[in-house]
């Protein structure tokens, strides 16, 4: 049993570690290590206990149950008493990854759509957030107001914000078409945004709108840790703005970016609320993100076994990506430090 405890402490000692990242980083904070009586008493562990228990309850136990479910034929006939559901072996997985059959094919499509969506969304969020943060380094009138304004999308409740977007994207009465079609006359007929191919664009717009303020916030905090003297020295040596950004800002932001991109990636890849609120029960194929797809596969077809198998596959994928990402980026950093 002790490895569990050790694992958790390690994760907390490294705030950049995967465990601390995926769950609210502010929620778990261990006491700073100090030689003395307290340490020998094991007080840190005692203080960690509630967090550990909750972590097990809220995250690990359901995850384990989910893994068990994925090996069962948990359909509507058995949901009332899970114990009676027959074991399905690897059947649920076989169905999920059989890309020549409709279920697997749909999952693969959804997965690829999600990958493309995540790539674009994270890229744009990072780009816009970083650009805005760099510009906001200069002091000018109204900077405080702008800063606050930029953070609004991040502060708004997701549902309220996305419902508003859904209204704006309506074909006949929405604001977007009113501007694009009625006022600017850019299109021959008002396009659909919530059904058909355009729904991918809709999803991307809302996701970037929702995500970039976070990038902005984190990068802004990172920038404040770069000593001004370096810029002054560079300026004296004749470096222009662009060179300063390339040679000083970006390398100094590296550790911040490493965490930021990972967090944005995980959030965006797993995003459920945005597509669900925008498109409702059945998302158009072009915007069928994988978390929504899994939800549909479990709740609407009442086949929780297959849904769980898909979830486990997604979990494995994200673990691999995160692991590879952390290995590659930290190796890069070590060699840079050397």
């Amino acid at each position: 049993m002790s490895p569990d405890a050790t694992m958790t402490t390690t994760a907390i000692e490294k705030p950049g570690g995967p465990t601390a990242l995926r769950h609210d980083p502010g929620a778990v904070r261990g006491p700073r290590r100090r030689p003395g009586r307290l340490r020998t008493l094991g007080l840190p562990y005692l203080l960690l206990l509630p967090a550990l228990v909750l972590e097990l309850l809220v995250h690990l136990v359901p995850m384990l149950i989910g893994i068990v479910m994925s090996f069962k034929e948990l359909t509507q006939f058995f949901i009332r008493d899970w114990g009676t559901a027959p074991w399905a072996g690897l059947d649920n997985y076989a169905v999920s990854v059989d890309f020549h059959a409709p279920v697997g094919e749909a999952l693969l499509n959804s997965f690829l759509t999600t990958c493309l969506f995540t790539l674009l969304s994270v890229g744009l969020c990072w780009l816009i957030g970083t650009a805005a943060a760099v510009f906001m380094q200069e002091t000018f009138r109204g900077r405080g107001v702008l800063r606050a304004l930029f953070l609004v999308p991040y502060a708004l409740p997701v549902y309220a914000a996305v419902i508003t977007w859904a209204f704006m994207f309506q074909r006949d009465n929405g604001l977007i078409n009113h501007v694009l079609h009625d006022q600017l006359g850019l299109t021959d007929s008002p396009p659909f945004w919530l059904i058909g191919e355009n729904s991918f664009v809709t999803l991307l717009v809302v996701s970037v709108w929702k995500g970039w303020p976070f990038a902005f916030l984190i990068v802004m905090a990172g920038l404040q840790n770069i000593p001004r003297e370096i810029y002054e020295a560079a300026a004296l040596d004749g470096a222009g703005v662009w060179q300063q950004i390339r040679r000083i800002t970006l390398p100094s932001l590296r550790p911040v970016n490493q965490v930021l991109v990972l967090v944005l990636f995980l959030w965006t890849f797993n995003d459920f609320n945005t597509p669900f609120v925008l498109f409702g029960r059945a998302a158009p194929e072009a915007a069928d993100l994988v978390s929504l797809h899994i939800y549909q596969s479990s709740f609407q077809t009442w086949n929780f076994g297959t849904g769980s198998a898909m979830s486990v596959l997604l979990l494995l994928f994200l673990l691999v990506v995160t692991g590879v990402y952390l290995t590659v980026t930290s190796r890069g950093r070590k060699s840079a430090d050397a």
């Binding site: 009332r80 008493d81 409709p102 659909f192 059904i195 077809t301």
Partner: protein, 439 residues
């Protein structure tokens, strides 16, 4: 180190105990109800009024009445349609649910198969006055044939054709259509100046199903074989779906924007004189909420292919309605029975169905003149003579999802100007069928 290990072991043990307790709720589900909490009931009502507040206002006085008579306090929660099925599934899984609940009658067989609801055998029916109190067609939508019903009918509804009198007068149309050919011809006359002949809710999966199910019947097709297998690609089924999509794709009497409608926007278009007809179930209360006077609209039976509505291929509506079910895990089985008896009694049936503009599925209450108004008579007539129950198979809810989605995607194609052909319809239905659980 030992202490650390002890602490860790303690933590893990505690959490396992707690989680076992959390799961424990489900293990009680093997039982079938008791009377350990005889003085209270929890009731999940579906959203029948214009909004949830309206429902609370309608139901609360009746629940107070029930408490006065029996001393049982009923805790009411009105659950929106978008959440109801998920809530029931969650309650089924955890074993922690309400005592009594409303379900969409089309879900009866699906929920019945999960075993979460109390079966209504002879003995239970006797406690609420007997099975023969209920209208036959409503009982046809309470579960798989040959099994004890999973619920009892509470409100009945039927589809009918609602038409906007002002728009009909402006287009010089005297008589509302009775067949599909007439509907298309009438629709073409009405479709002009940015106004549309008829409205659909293209992104509302359940509504799509209701419509294509009826059209399927008219083409002699069921979506399930008699032994309960999915059969979505028969010629009749394909023709039915194509006929429905063609209202937009070929005849162009549906506005393209309707393809993304899912929140009853077609009804507000109707109330704003933008759409002249809708095929809907008990729309009266919604029209009123939209500010339409009862004299501004008319209602006739929904169209058939030819002749008069009746049985077989002359069916022109599904048996729509709400059923009342008792959760098997209830802690107040006797109270739940009393409550069902109360809600299906003549007095409450009249009060509630009047408030919601629906029709009582209880024969003795249906005789009340309030249900013979021009607004309700066609619905009552339809229910009695030409409505068919949706397939009573355990996979009904999956059917709604996959075929409803196929219809939604076809509407999206039609709206984007892509051709909708017999082949493309069949391909979509083929894909839907492959997504059904293997049997």
């Amino acid at each position: 180190m030992r202490r650390i290990r002890a602490a860790a072991v303690g933590a893990v043990t505690l959490s396992l105990v707690l989680s076992a307790a959390a799961c424990g709720g489900g293990s009680a589900s093997g039982g079938s109800g008791d009377n350990s909490r005889p003085k209270s009931l929890t009731y999940w009502a579906s959203n029948q009024g214009a909004n949830i507040e309206v429902d609370k206002k309608v139901l609360q006085p009746e629940l107070d009445k029930f408490e006065k008579r029996t001393g049982i306090k009923v805790k009411l929660e009105v659950v929106p349609w978008s959440d109801l099925l998920n809530r029931i599934l969650t309650a089924t899984t955890s074993g922690q649910g309400p005592d009594v609940l409303n379900i969409g009658n089309t879900w009866s067989a699906s929920l019945q198969s999960s075993g979460a609801l109390l079966p209504w055998d002879e003995k239970n029916f006797r406690k609420i006055g007997g099975k023969d109190r209920f209208v036959e067609s409503a009982l046809g939508s309470t579960g798989v044939e040959g099994q004890d019903p999973a619920a009892v009918p509470l409100y009945s509804m039927a589809y009918a054709l609602y038409y906007n009198k002002k728009m009909f007068a402006e287009a010089g149309i005297q008589k509302p259509p009775a067949t599909w050919d007439e509907l298309v011809a009438t629709g073409k006359k009405l479709t002009r100046n940015g106004k549309a002949g008829i409205g659909v809710e293209g992104s509302n999966l359940s509504n799509n199903i209701h419509q294509v199910f009826v059209l399927g019947k008219q083409h002699g097709a069921d979506f399930f074989t008699p032994d309960g297998k999915a059969d979505f690609t028969s010629d009749g089924a394909v023709a039915a779906v194509k006929q429905y999509i063609d209202l937009m794709a070929q005849h162009k009497i549906v506005a393209k924007g309707n393809a993304e409608y899912a929140q009853n926007q077609s009804l507000s278009d109707f109330a704003k004189d933008r759409t002249a007809m809708v095929l809907w179930q008990t729309a009266a209360t919604t029209f009123k909420a939209q500010g339409m006077d009862d004299s501004e609209w008319g209602v006739v039976p929904a169209p058939v292919r030819s002749g008069k509505p009746g049985r077989g291929t002359a069916v022109n509506s599904m048996v729509a309605g709400i059923n009342l079910a008792v959760f098997k895990n209830t802690k107040n089985i006797d109270g739940a029975m009393q409550f069902v008896e109360f809600m299906t009694g003549d007095e409450e049936q009249k009060i509630l169905n009047k408030a919601y503009g629906s029709i009582p599925p209880v024969t003795s209450a249906q005789a009340d003149p309030a249900f013979n108004t021009p607004a309700l008579a066609p619905l009552r007539e339809t229910l009695a003579t030409s409505a068919a129950a949706l397939p009573q198979v355990p996979e009904e809810s999956q059917f709604e999802t996959v075929v409803g989605t196929a219809v939604k995607e076809l509407f999206a194609d039609a709206a984007a100007g892509r051709p909708v052909t017999t082949g493309s319809v069949r391909a979509k239905l083929e894909k839907a069928q492959q997504q059904m659980p293997r049997k």
